[in-house]
Amino acid sequence: MTAPTAASSSEMTTPGAPPVPTSFALFKAFFFIGLTGFGGVLPWARRMLVERLGWLTSREFAELLPLAQLLPGPNVANIATVLGRQYRGAKGAAVAVFALYLAPTIITIGIGYAYARWGHAPVTAHLFAGLMPAATGLVIATVLKLVTSLPRGVASIVLVAATFISIALMKIPLLIVLAVLGPLGTITMLRRAQKD
């Protein structure tokens, strides 16, 4: 409870000129974001950057999100790249992204060794059988949340259906599907914007 107050009061004492974080501070922040991001990293990133460190206001974080979501790759990795660049240029971006992935990479490789060794034991088979429905359910929940946020209209429905049929049913490579449907969707939305 004390962290947000401290951050907002320091903002008030230095209006318009908050100190630019050092590369080491970037490393520390994103290392811990990578380490703590259980069940989705974004809420943790928000907690760290907005509430604990006060590098961004709630609004600045919200404004960063659309671009991070548009760019390919995990949203939090894009936030690390953009913030690192804004604060410390190329070095800052490299440090932030490296720090973000350091712990998860080591942990994942550890899991790889553990899987090779114990992956086929009865206990782990039961554990995996338990993890799978949750993972599937979470993907379905993401779909439901995104479907309701889509712009209404025939164009959206046709694009969703065309993507599903070509990827899941016809098994066409993603590169080809995106090369065709991406520009098609963009042109459709540009035309609609011009009509309005």
Partner: protein
Amino acid sequence: MWSTLADLFVHGSIWSLLAVGGMNATLADIQRYAVDTRHWVTGEQFVTFFSITQAAPGPNGMAVALIGFQAAGLSGALVSTIAKILPSSLMAYFVSAWVERRQDSRIVAAVRKGLAPVTVGLLVSAAYVFARETDVNVSRALCTLVCAAVAYRSKLNPIYLVAASALLGLAGVFG
């Protein structure tokens, strides 16, 4: 060995650059290539790896490191991880600088809106591939539906759903 590493790097980079709206958008294509074409992992391993990395800390998509590990050991895991991170980060670096320079972001907005339905279609594909592999009996299908409903309706941290589901699995509910 080297050809497998090159293959992991090239396809990892493609997925990195095509992950519009997050890594989950590429899951159906990763399944197509890693399971159906290359046989690096089985269909069940693919979903298992994704489930494990979802329960572990870190950004989405670390499952590709486990697929790389399965395909070519430690070097495969490292190559897959670098291929997953580097291309999309470089793109984020240069594109964000470009977007900041031009405030008129009509094209950015159109691309975003145009890609949104495609992203949803990709996630529906991922859900389809997952459900086909996961929901082989009634108890798993029920658990999937409950997790989906709770995650959709509430703001509960998903890690609790993962933990609860894992406990049910350990208790032998899912066979």
